[in-house]
């Protein structure tokens, strides 16, 4: 699905990622953990193609193609989805309108027919119910005045409608209480599929109790310093990042 080789990236001329290599197979869930400032969010922005994030060295291959050639929206239509840590408010655009615009923009980009209003409504209602997203929320402008939990549920709802091949979940657990976390994790788990890979970026091990990864990587100072199975997360929880980053140095 995704192959990152010796990736170096800078923001405003400051190097943040300093040689990351990572291979993610179809259907795999990889967790990337690390302390603040380790480059976790930079990695997700680089994958999404955000401008101002400059790749200085290395390569990213997605489904056998050079990902860096594609624009932000081309990546989206090719199946890359970023669940934002801080979803942006879109004033005046209802959640429903936004969802429909996004789904149809991607369908159009892939040369598929747009969904008609009736079919779409049915689909949204079904998915919304699973995520405990109320009808009222769909009528409100996206993310405007949403609670932390509502924002993350809205992100998960978008993911379930857009059916991405590679989902990058950036600190999805931040700002969530345990009940909200469970709802969101349930939604994500339901989307696990043999043809869908995920990168779960998190600071805490807590989220990984609910979304259980196949592989765990520890990121520090722009490099992956350790990789392992899900037990690595538990080890981190016990010893903290400091031990690990120091022993690596």
């Amino acid at each position: 699905m995704l192959e990152i080789k010796d990736l170096h990236a800078s923001v405003d001329g400051t190097p943040i990622l300093k040689g990351i290599s990572l291979t993610i197979g179809d259907g795999e869930v990889h967790a990337i953990m690390g302390p603040n400032g380790s480059g976790k969010s930079t990695l997700s922005n680089v994958l999404a193609g955000r401008e101002d994030y400059e790749i200085t060295k290395g390569s990213i291959t997605y489904k056998g193609k050079d990902l860096t050639e594609l624009s932000i929206e081309e990546r989206a239509s090719a199946g890359i989805f970023l669940a934002f840590q801080y979803p942006t408010e879109i004033p005046g655009v209802t959640t429903m309108t936004f969802l429909k615009t996004a789904v149809n923009a991607q369908r159009k980009a892939r040369g598929e027919d747009e969904l008609d209003a009736v079919k779409f409504l049915k689909l949204v209602r079904e998915k919304a119910k699973e995520l405990k997203v109320e009808e009222d929320m769909l009528k409100r402008p996206l993310n405007v005045g949403f609670s932390g939990g509502e924002k993350k549920r809205a992100e998960t709802l978008q993911m379930s409608l857009l059916q991405p091949s590679l989902a990058v979940l950036d600190e999805t657990d931040s700002g969530l209480d345990i009940d909200a976390l469970k709802i969101v994790a349930d939604g994500v788990n339901r989307l696990r599929a043999p043809d869908r890979s995920m990168i779960v970026i998190t600071h805490y091990q807590r989220l990984l109790d609910y979304i259980v990864p196949d592989h765990v990587h520890v990121l520090a100072k722009g490099k992956i310093i350790r990789s392992g199975g899900k037990e690595l997360a538990a080890e981190l929880e016990a010893s903290g990042y400091t031990d690990m980053t120091e022993s690596a140095a």
Partner: protein, 484 residues
């Protein structure tokens, strides 16, 4: 939802071009170039007007000659040579005016079809009565019969002068006086046509009335005159749409709209203005100097202006309400979009004269490219206007870093019981929002159209359905190429 999708489609199909930039090749009859008393007499004679109408025009013309063009607005344009324009242009077949749509020059109808207002289809399906003003002459008015049954008069201004002179004489110039301002006075002298609406006491106009204005002829000024009178307890919703072909020269448009709203009556006036704005370098485009004013003459009357301004090189326009009757209500909802080198100076005046009068102003200005957009508004509460209320909200959105937005509110209160509120915000279309939308698959222009439509939502909701869709499309088209 559906409209958003259409915005997106419209952006795609228009590909950076002014969609209405075609001109129609129809023989036309013009007054000699230039402006003098003979021009005024020519226009009046062409229209076979009664003596009093001619005198009214000549009086206006003489006054105009003593007036100076105003320069207080925040717009810059080269001096207009009023002698270098035609003041009257009519499709040539004027002598044998069409009796029905079948007789209308098919080329004209084709033009309307390009504009997306197939008259025949509209007659059959939409139930919208259309008075189409092509350059200076009203070409076809549909649905007259059904309206007549309800007692509503909807016709061209010229016809009204012929058929209902007493009404025209009673109300013309009572809202916008002949000497109101330079452009209104010019209009009073040389107006060539426009629309006339009269809704009698207690009648709720059975359909939306609609007029399309289009400037086709080169070097032609368009000076239409609209007069709407709504009697006690009556209601009308009136829609106005404007386009013009692409031309390298600037064209002048100086219209006057007068609304008279009597006791318990209501007028809803909506405009989608999409005159040619000029090209990216500011070449060509319409100078739009318009005087629009409504008089809430009776108690409990209400006038609502909604406008979507996307076109014109220079816009100078302040649809206003005189809240004369007690408990009368004035509303102004505006979206003004400027791109490239467009200049907009627009806003409203709410003049509170009666007791318990209230007004509401929602203005959304969007500037892109190197354009300049100014909101200029006056809220004035006179001595006797006990318990007047106003709420004003002016939001400006900037796209890119070469445009500008200005807000110039004037507030005058001579009565201590008045409650006036003013809110203003200026924001930039954020990188975060654009990134978010694009990450979901929208391209840059779709994202801008969606975000701007969201920004304008409060105002778009005020538009009648059929206009709301068109307006949303325009928002997208007008802002093409404004990012990146």
């Amino acid at each position: 939802m559906v409209a958003t999708r259409e915005t997106v489609e419209a952006v795609d199909e228009a590909v950076g071009k002014y969609k209405y930039g075609f001109s129609t090749d129809i023989e036309s009859e013009k007054a000699p170039k230039g402006l003098n008393e003979d021009t005024v007499r020519f226009i009046s004679a062409k229209k076979n007007e009664p003596e009093w109408m001619l005198e009214w025009r000549l009086d206006a013309f003489r006054r105009w000659q003593t007036m100076e063009e105003p320069d207080w607005a925040k717009v810059n344009y080269p001096k207009i040579d009023y002698q270098d324009a035609y003041y009257y242009s009519a499709p040539k077949s004027d002598d044998d005016r069409p009796k029905s749509l079948d007789e209308v020059d098919p080329k004209l109808l084709e033009t309307y079809e390009k504009l997306g207002i197939p008259l025949v289809e509209q007659m059959a399906l939409a139930g919208v009565a259309v008075d189409a003003v092509f350059d200076s002459v009203s070409v076809a008015t549909t649905f007259k019969e059904r309206l007549a049954e309800a007692g509503v008069i909807f016709c061209s201004f010229s016809e009204a002068v012929q058929d209902h002179p007493e009404l025209v004489r009673q109300y013309l110039g009572t809202v916008v006086p002949v000497t109101d301002n330079y452009f209104a006075t010019l209009n009073s002298a040389v107006f060539s046509d426009g629309s006339f609406v009269f809704v009698p006491k207690g009648v709720r106009c059975p359909m939306e009335l609609s007029t399309y204005f289009r400037i086709n002829e080169a070097d032609t000024g368009q000076f239409e005159r609209t007069l709407i009178i709504v009697e006690d307890g009556a209601y009308v919703s009136y829609l106005e749409g404007c386009t013009a072909p692409m031309r390298d020269e600037h064209q002048l448009h100086a219209a006057v709209v007068e609304l008279v709203c009597l006791e318990d009556a209501e007028i809803k006036y909506s405009t989608v203005q999409n005159w040619y704005p000029g090209d990216e370098d500011g070449k060509g485009g319409i100078y739009n100097f318009v005087t629009k004013r409504g008089d809430c003459r009776g108690d409990n009357s209400k006038i609502s202006w909604t406008q979507v301004e996307t076109g014109s090189a220079v816009t100078w326009k302040y649809p206003s309400c005189v809240l004369r009757g007690d408990n009368s209500v004035g509303e102004f909802y505006s979206i003004a979009i400027s791109n490239n080198l467009q200049q907009v100076d627009s806003g409203t005046k709410m003049i509170h004269l009666g007791k318990n009068t209230s007004s509401r102003i929602i203005s959304k200005g969007i500037s892109a490219g190197r354009s300049s957009s100014t909101y200029r508004g006056l809220v004035s509460v006179h001595k006797k206007a006990e318990d007047a209320r106003n709420f004003t909200q002016c939001d400006s959105l900037l796209i890119g870093d070469r445009c500008s937005a200005h807000t110039v509110p004037y507030i005058e209160s001579k009565n201590p019981s008045a409650v006036l509120e003013h809110e203003a915000t200026t924001s930039k279309l954020s990188e975060d929002q654009l990134f978010y939308c694009r990450q979901r698959g929208l391209d840059e222009e779709e994202a801008v159209a969606l975000l701007v439509n969201g920004f304008c939502r409060d105002v778009l909701q005020q538009l009648p359905m059929e206009f709301a869709v068109e307006a949303q499309k325009l928002v997208g088209i007008s802002l093409e190429g404004s990012v990146g």
